[in-house]
Amino acid sequence: MPDWNKPLPTVVGETRAYWDACRRGQLLIQHCGQCGEYQFYPRGICAHCWTENPGWVAASGKGTVWTYTVTYQNRTPGFDQGPYVLALVELEEGVRMFSNIVECDPREVSIGMAVEVTFQRATDQISVPYFKPAG
């Protein structure tokens, strides 16, 4: 296992399914069977129609960069080793998430760039979803 010193989520209740899937290399998002809306972050109700326990679907893992920044200064352990690309990625399904663009030079990132999910194993329980240029 690589040395992982970045902050980790405390996995609770209804988000356990999300992080369990990440560990298996799958990106889950919620999809409401009642109103058909996709939802991220996961939660116990659909924020569009208040249906309880909206269902899960596997996202394709493909998306585009909606916007990004190259963060030079973050003294948080794990993020203090030089610049990294913090990006808002829009998934094919329409929901967006903050993540990092990895496996590419920050100067090559652009808005609208096609990316795909890649998981980095942090602990036995947690794998964190990042994105890399679509191959």
Partner: protein
């Protein structure tokens, strides 16, 4: 029963009759309570009529996190005790950087309800006890620990992402951002309460003089932009934002005295009325409809304009939440002062400068005056109060008509926005 869009008004009118600010800066010997007392003293010493300790019936104080910054919870009654105002009811309001904006709103509604006639509202933050990384940790705790923190989200990172989106969509450049900082420092240099009451040009020249003194090569900066575009003088924090695009870490406090409008003349011949108030919540940024605008700011200003019966064109000057330079540009568009994408050109043309037709952040803004987060919202109102009364001294806005002022106070990354419209009576 759709009540969310009902037109709103205050049950009775509210006026501001006093305003005070502590010194903004880094003060190792002062707690947030001491800073609040300092702001309160400034208020009572500058009021037109003396007030009695028994006049104040109720208070609301904005404070983001005395718990984490000072390891002190339940700070509101401590403030009441420090001022000798017990047993009046006092309540702490927390809405991140919009805490005192929201405290003001609670105070206004307490008067409008008819329950109180005289209410003290303000805010305070003591931030410099912690080292910088501790402060950024506390600020980052406003981000979502489950999904955002593992991605290395920082406040400069989020506003850097907003800046990139604005640059991609419009003709916004890095220089536009830097010019906002230059303008706000020009104003802050005229504000004795400001944390950095110094112009960017002075900072540049000091640095050149220091290099010369030490026998080091003197940088060849001709203009402020040369200086600010130099990576050594102004390092990247979260590209496209540099150090001088970010508001500082600040200790400070602010307060104002709200009264029912019909008794305002017991306190002053020149009250400033709270003509419109608005507050809205916004989704986290990843769920926002667009990144070049904060939806809560648009909605809060819509509410405030409607209550005041005005449009954006009627606003003579404003204090807006420039936690980062890009935030001032986005605010000037969200508030309707300039069309979307036109904010940068207004900066180029000097329209938002002290002698412009729409002065913004005459106080120096959060950038130069400082940003003690829980105090910033009411701090903005303090500036507009003095500007509308024509008592802002050297930094008095130059335009002839100064009747309507506005404040725009943002919590987090747009999760909260409070907008107030103030009118000279």
């Amino acid at each position: 029963m759709a009540t969310a869009t009902r037109k709103r008004r205050l049950g009775r009118q509210v006026a501001i009759v006093g305003a005070g600010l502590s010194q903004f800066g880094a003060f190792p010997d002062k707690d947030s309570r001491d800073l609040f007392v300092e702001a309160f003293q400034d208020m009572i010493q500058t009021m037109d009529q003396p007030i009695d300790i028994d006049d104040i019936e109720c208070a609301y104080v904005g404070n983001y996190s005395s718990d984490l910054f000072e390891t002190q919870g339940h700070t509101a009654p401590i403030v009441a005790d420090w001022l000798g105002m017990t047993p009046i009811p006092i309540t702490r309001i927390e809405n991140a950087c919009a805490s005192s904006g929201s405290a003001l709103r609670e105070g206004a509604m307490a008067i409008a309800s008819g329950m109180y006639d005289v209410v003290l509202v303000g805010g305070m933050e003591k931030m410099t006890n912690l080292p910088t990384e501790g402060v950024t940790d506390v600020l980052a705790s406003a981000a979502d620990g489950l999904y955002e923190v593992p991605a290395g989200l920082t406040f400069p990172g989020i506003f850097g992402a907003i800046a990139k989106a604005h640059m991609d969509r419009y003709e916004t450049s890095l220089d536009h951002l830097l010019k906002v900082g230059i303008k706000n420092h020009n104003n802050g240099a005229l504000n004795p309460k400001a944390q950095f009451n110094v112009t960017i040009r002075d900072l540049m020249e000091r640095r050149m003089a220091r290099a010369e003194q030490r026998g080091q090569p003197v940088p060849e900066w001709q203009t402020e932009l040369d200086f600010l575009n130099d990576d050594r003088a102004n390092p990247w924090i979260a590209w496209p934002l540099r150090l001088y695009d970010c508001a500082p870490i600040t200790d400070g406090a602010s307060c104002i005295l709200l009264v029912a409008a019909d008794i305002a003349h017991n306190f002053t011949d020149r009250p400033v009325s709270l003509a419109g108030i608005g507050q809205a919540s916004g989704k986290p940024l990843h769920d926002a409809d667009e990144l070049t605008s904060l939806s809560a700011a648009k909605e809060a200003s819509r509410q405030a304009y409607e209550m005041a019966g005005i449009t954006a064109d009627d606003v003579d000057l404003a204090e807006v939440h420039d936690c980062f330079t890009i935030a001032e540009i986005v605010a000037s568009e969200d508030l309707g002062f300039f069309a979307p994408g036109e904010g940068p050109r207004a900066v180029d043309e000097g329209r938002t400068a002290l002698d412009g037709d729409r002065p913004i952040n005459t106080s120096g803004g959060l950038k130069s005056k400082g940003h003690p987060v829980g105090a910033s919202g009411v701090g903005q109102v303090v500036e507009i109060y003095h500007q509308l009364r024509g008592e802002a001294g050297e930094r008095q806005a130059k335009k002839s008509k100064l009747e309507v002022g506005l404040t725009h106070n943002v919590g987090g990354t747009g999760g909260t926005c409070v907008v107030n419209v103030l009118r000279r009576e």
